[in-house]
């Protein structure tokens, strides 16, 4: 199949849907569903005035820091728990319980108590994202071939080296799978934390405009969050391939 046809096949539906929305809403007088042209105009206006960009930067910084904490804690704890069997056995019920706590349930407690600043939002995002990463790291460590472990033992390499050169690379594909799961959860919690209470951020923009019936702004904010979320996911899929090149090359993927 030619590249052009492939591109056409992939994009026609998107184009059709956008056009459908554009024309179906073009003469809409319904307050809740403003014309798409108005929504996009609002989006461009608020982006170029810098207001929305500032909010977006605030939200994405929270997301990035929360995710960073989650990755550091998740991988660190995951390597230890996965490698040390007694620890794993003892902690197993607590980990599977903590991961079952619906992440949104913590929003009122953390943000209601610690206020509107970025700190509480980052904690909430980190807590929500840590469990997929932790669980996948544990699974990844456990999935390392026993022969490879025994090699490490036979060569008597130091624990630090053993973790860095044997356990971490072996678990890396699973770890990335965990981060991939954590990413949309993080974005959702980011939005929820701002919709709950904030004075800044994309979620605040959405909430504030809807409570003043500026529906075009509400839609613009929602579209922005969606597009940004989509591109973050896409970018992550690209980045993921770099450190895992050896893994994809080895053909271990069942595709």
């Amino acid at each position: 199949m030619s590249a052009f046809r492939k591109l056409l096949e992939k994009s026609w539906l998107v184009v059709a849907l956008v056009l459908l929305w554009w024309f179906a809403s073009a003469s809409s007088t319904n307050v809740f569903f403003p014309p798409l042209s108005v929504i996009l105009e609002t989006l461009v206006r608020d982006l170029s005035s810098g207001l929305l960009l500032e909010y977006l930067a605030f939200s994405l910084t929270n997301l990035g820091l929360g995710l960073l904490f989650a990755i550091i804690i998740g991988i660190g704890l995951g390597l230890l728990i996965g490698e040390i069997r007694p620890l794993r056995d003892a902690l197993d019920p607590y980990v599977s319980f903590a991961r079952s706590i619906p992440q949104a349930a913590l929003v009122p407690l953390i943000i209601g108590t610690f206020g509107l600043g970025p700190g509480p939002k980052i904690y909430t995002i980190a807590f929500a994202c840590v469990f997929p990463i932790l669980l996948n790291t544990i699974d990844g460590v456990r999935g390392i071939e026993p022969t490879i472990r025994r090699f490490g033992k036979v060569y008597r390499i130091t624990p630090a080296r053993y973790f860095r050169r044997v356990v971490l690379p072996g678990a890396l594909p699973q770890i990335f799978a965990g981060i991939r799961v954590a990413l949309p959860i993080g974005i959702t919690v980011m939005v929820v934390s701002e919709l709950y209470a904030a004075n800044k951020g994309v979620g605040f923009y959405i909430l504030n405009s809807s409570s003043t019936f500026q529906m075009a702004q509400t839609w613009a904010g929602a579209i922005l969050v969606g597009v940004v979320g989509y591109f973050i996911t896409l970018i992550f899929f690209r980045i993921e391939r770099l450190p895992l090149r050896w893994y994809f090359k080895s053909g271990a993927m069942a595709q």
């Binding site: 539906l13 809740f32 599977s96 349930a105 709950y196 979620g203 969050v225 979320g229």
Partner: protein
């Protein structure tokens, strides 16, 4: 220098002294005691915010909450919203997904749209939905549906696209009718991926239904937690969160058990 040992598990090996089970129970209880102790230490050292309850208050709240009818009603409302949205999403997602997945052209066409839908945090649309249909159970079900649809759809498309070459050849050689092929080949081979989609979206359904409650005050666990926090009753909020976790955990285990039972044929190894 190397006191570092790599745990090697020998199947069937009996540990000496206490039985494995007993040691496991003891170690797990020790963790619980350590967690509780750490909390109490933090409480005494006043590092925690003032509203934080001490251990006794949390334990008491756990029992008090269980005896109140508002708790059970809230659990019911949250589960209803989650289940209704999840069920509709399952029906729509599987039917649409299998229809799309059996056509190569359609599945290539919807790829971008479906990926976008999955990456889209549907709760961002909630303010609009609230204004259009109001704060009620219907809105909650709609939000859960919108969030649960995508994982099920994606897994159903992927599942019905996947086909073993040998199986496809066999179908061609035996000239099996398309209808029969659909029910006997496509659907069973799609089942493992579909059930993964169902499991992923089941946990999303609880997350969204509580999230909607937290944000819009629809009746349910999310609202109870918000109200407890606003009344500075951290002990109650803690109890609600712990039970919300238990509900999620029970749901996950139930689905995992059902999955193992339904898909036993697919689990030759392990």
């Amino acid at each position: 220098m190397s006191t570092f040992t790599i745990p090697v598990v020998v199947p069937g090996a009996k540990a000496c002294g206490l039985s494995r089970r007993a040691r496991l129970t003891i170690s797990r209880l020790a963790v619980l005691v350590a967690l509780a102790g750490a909390w109490q230490l933090l409480y005494i050292s006043t590092l925690l915010p003032e509203v934080a309850p001490d251990l006794v208050q949390i334990v008491l709240a756990l029992f008090t909450v269980l005896t109140t009818s508002s708790f059970w009603i809230a659990v019911g409302q949250t589960l209803f919203g989650a289940f209704a949205g999840w069920g509709i999403a399952a029906a729509v997602g599987i039917v649409l997904g299998v229809a799309i997945g059996t056509s190569g052209f359609l599945s290539r066409s919807v790829e971008v749209v479906v990926e976008f839908g999955r990456a889209f945090p549907m709760l961002a649309l909630m303010p609009v939905v609230v204004l259009v249909i109001g704060v009620n159970a219907r809105m909650e079900v709609l939000m859960v549906f919108l969030s649960c649809l995508w994982p099920i759809l994606i897994q159903s498309i992927a599942g019905s696209r996947r086909q073993d070459q040998a199986v496809a050849d066999t179908v061609a050689v035996f000239r099996i009718s398309p209808f029969r092929k659909f029910w006997k080949v496509t659907i069973p081979s799609a089942m493992p991926l579909i059930s993964t989609g169902l499991r992923i979206s089941a946990s999303i359904s609880i997350l969204v239904s509580i999230g909607v409650g937290v944000l819009s005050q629809t009746p349910g666990l999310g609202r109870q937690i918000t109200m407890a926090q606003e009344a500075s009753r951290w002990d109650l909020a803690f109890a609600y969160i712990i039970f919300a976790g238990l509900v999620g955990w029970a749901l996950n285990s139930a689905i995992a058990a059902a999955e193992t039972k339904a898909l036993r044929w697919n689990r030759q190894e392990a």
